[in-house]
Subunit: 374 residues, 2 copies
């Protein structure tokens, strides 16, 4: 099958990572610690790195938060982005402290009451500073903080057209000064708005897009909205880096981000478990076995697909594509397949020990390799 | 904003429900009890009904399962669909027992070793029976059970083209006998394959589509895959009824199904909570408050949107669109907005009692109305 054809975008340097061009679509997250608490912030970032976070953003709501960014950056391994609202001094200070990127919303920088001319002066000062320090700028537009005149024009509705126009205005404000290291985000809590806004803006230039549904919410709701919004754009080839927003521990954002990219075959990483929803035909404890397999996820880096299927209806078919398959048979036996080849039948009580041996080995072999390669 | 324009499909009667045409996109699920255990099966279906399930499918792996369908149907309120594989007698018996629909895969009915001619005879007998009893047929093609000759043709790969061709062949086998009450599903564990297969088949006729990603897996993985596959097709206007497949309790499938439809504004139902992912700027306990609000979900039927925002950056903007908004302010106060209008500031400890009063009232008023309307 033809893989997804990605939209052509310019390549941006984000510290040691790359965004856009032909670089892999990266997974981002944002800390929710008090940034000034360096220990807590670094601990959270380290946890996110282990989960596969590739770029991290921290909120910089005051000058004290900006001042600790150098120390945070020294202690972590992934590019650091400062999230700035309103106060341009926080952007300047963050750049001085060595961040790899800053996120600003030119529509609110300097405060929302500024004249356009004043705002341009402020943006210019930030852009000049970013240029000298080779820092990229994410121009981030959000349905919750649209320019007032655009809201008037679009009758108080943050429509896709309003979002795209706001982004375009902000991008021009930055590009006017010859600065091109721009990543753009167009966030809305509304999935349809977010998708359409990107579709509109995608036609207007080659800026890499940072995809996200903002304030997606908790658990299921947040995962559903993020997967639909980010996923349907990725299916169209739109999107260069992604951030899932969930209320709760940010490590979940990274896990969901990876699930999105893996499910679309855009990236590969660790275990993938295919399991059937079970029905009256089910001969083995599918959910229980799938959960057991997933408990090994953290230790396995190499792509490996396991199918757990309750019966032979689709089981034999799915076993053809998986690296390993456990398929329920009559009288509670399970058939084991490796890469589509039948290996043996096993009893229910043998399933977990059998999987344990394989999965532990998979983890260990890789870890030995990883250690050696360092 | 322009709403999603739905693909034109023929209208199918599924008991008292409708699929296709201009009827609302419905949420389905499937039981995972032993169908013969009527009490357990009915109990599960009742729970699914309460969660918003609108059509229920049960597996019919043997004749004893078919024989209890009449009793099950009498005890439930939503259309009942029998899921049949291999044995045509199970289809005939299920129709005799009064189901509203049957799901067959004409590619495996009668067993996989039949000649095409023998298979056609079998399909004919089922179609004739379905016609006399006004039962609709879901023609269900699945990546795990593709016709062998198609697998050969497509080099052992269940490509989108192979799935679409298999479906078209099955549809024709049924339509040949003048039968048009068909719903089609094209399931794959691979999101991209599932999406592309529907895009191909959508051009070939006006059958309503039942969307689902098969064997999507557990928890996060399953939700992500289902939301992306179902969601991106719905965004294109494709899809008339949906079923989320998750390994685990089927009630989760219904909840996720509703989240998908609500997030795309295709249906409305109960509470919608927008909450920010929190960061160093957060002034209130966003996740905790959002979770508290969600604990009222079950009792509220009427659409009602609440935004819980950690700070004013996007908080004031989001408060404009929500029915109710709680926005974190400096020194841990929270501002309350109703339909975009500022109401008052409250202290952290007042947030839950305040919400409780509103949400309980919302539930009670509706319940009184619901009782009266009966």
């Amino acid at each position: 099958m033809k893989p997804i054809k990605r939209r052509k975008t310019r390549l941006i340097k984000a510290g040691r990572a790359r965004i856009g061009g032909k670089s892999p679509i990266s997974v981002q997250s944002m800390t929710n610690t008090d940034t000034r608490d360096v220990r807590a912030t670094v601990r959270q970032i380290k946890g996110l790195e282990r989960a596969g976070c590739e770029i991290i953003r921290v909120a910089v709501p005051d000058i004290a938060s900006a001042k600790v960014l150098k120390e945070i950056k020294r202690k972590i391994n992934i590019p650091l982005v400062a999230d700035i609202h309103f106060d341009p001094q926080l952007a300047i200070e963050s750049i001085n402290r060595g961040v790899d990127g800053i996120r600003i919303n030119p529509g609110n920088i300097g405060g929302v009451e500024l004249s356009l001319k004043q705002r341009k002066e402020i943006v210019k000062s930030i852009v000049e500073k970013a240029r000298t320090r080779k820092v990229y700028i994410r121009v981030g537009v959000n349905s919750g903080s649209l320019d007032k005149d655009l809201l008037r024009k679009y009758k108080d509705k943050a429509t896709p057209e309003a979002l795209a126009e706001s982004a375009l205005r902000s991008i021009r404000m930055v590009e006017k000064f010859g600065f091109r290291d721009i990543v753009v985000s167009l966030k809305s809590t509304d999935v349809l708005t977010m998708v359409r806004a990107h579709e509109i803006l995608a036609e207007k230039g080659d800026w890499p897009f940072h995809l996200g549904v903002t304030e997606a919410g908790m658990g299921k709701t947040g995962i559903v909205k993020s997967a639909m919004g980010i996923g349907s754009l990725l299916l169209e080839g739109i999107g260069d880096t992604i951030r899932v927003s969930l209320s709760g521990p940010p490590v979940e954002e990274v896990k969901v981000g990876w699930e999105i990219l893996k499910s679309l075959k855009l990236r590969e990483k660790g275990l993938t478990v295919i399991s059937c929803p079970t029905c009256a035909r089910t001969k083995i404890e599918v959910a229980n076995i799938a959960k057991y397999i997933e408990s090994f996820s953290e230790s396995i880096e190499k792509p490996f697909t396991i199918a757990v299927m309750g019966c032979i209806v689709n089981g034999l078919g799915e076993a053809q594509w998986a690296d390993l398959a456990i398929v329920g048979l009559e009288s509670k036996k399970a058939a084991v397949f490796k890469k589509g080849k039948f290996i043996k039948n096993i009893q229910p009580k043998e399933v977990k020990p059998f999987l344990k041996a394989i999965l532990t080995n998979l983890g260990t072999t890789q870890n030995v390799k990883l250690r050696k390669s360092k």
